[in-house]
Symmetry: C2
C-alpha cells in the first residue's frame, strides 16, 4: 500500500480523483494532466485499483475511478499507532 503511494504520479492521481467533481473522474480527464503517455496512466490506475485504493466502473464508453476512503483511513490509523497495541499494557 505504501508502495502504491510511493510514486508521485499515483499520489497525484489519487488527489485528482478525490478532488474531482462528484469524487470520481474518467480516465480521459486525467491523461492530459501528466507528461506521460496514456498506457502509463492506465498502468498506475491499475496499481491503485489492485491495491484497493480506488474503485473503477465502465460507464458506456468511459471508465470512471473513485477513491475508496477506507484504505486511506486504515493507513492513517496505522501511522497514529506505530507501536504494537498488544504490548501497551507492559
Amino acid at each position: 500500500m505504501f508502495k502504491a503511494l510511493s510514486d508521485p504520479i499515483r499520489l497525484r492521481l489519487l488527489s485528482l480523483i478525490a478532488s474531482h467533481e462528484g469524487g470520481e473522474a474518467c480516465v480521459c480527464d486525467l491523461i492530459g494532466l501528466f507528461d506521460v503517455s496514456q498506457p502509463t496512466i492506465s498502468h498506475h490506475l491499475k496499481v491503485l485499483r489492485e491495491t484497493g485504493l480506488v474503485g473503477s466502473e465502465r460507464r458506456g464508453t468511459w471508465v470512471y475511478y473513485w477513491v475508496l476512503p477506507e484504505a486511506l483511513a486504515k493507513l492513517s490509523a496505522l501511522l497514529q499507532t506505530p507501536a504494537v497495541p498488544a504490548e501497551a499494557s507492559a
Copy 2:
C-alpha cells in the same frame, strides 16, 4: 516519505524502534532481527533518517535511533484529507 515507508524492512525497523524500550533502539539490537546484512540495515536507517522519520545520536560506542512522531502525524493527517484543503471552500 511514502517511498521511505514502501520498503518492508524500513517499515518494520520503524515499528521495532517505536516499540522498543524507551522508544529508542541501538543498531546492534536491530541487525540480528533481519535476514539482511549490517550494511543494508545501516542503509535503510540512513534513508529513514534523511526522510525525517527517525532521529539518531551516537552515545559512546553505540548509535541510537528513535522515531519522530511529527512526521507520522503529518502523513496521517494527509491521508484523512485526500483532497486539497485550499479548495475546500469550493
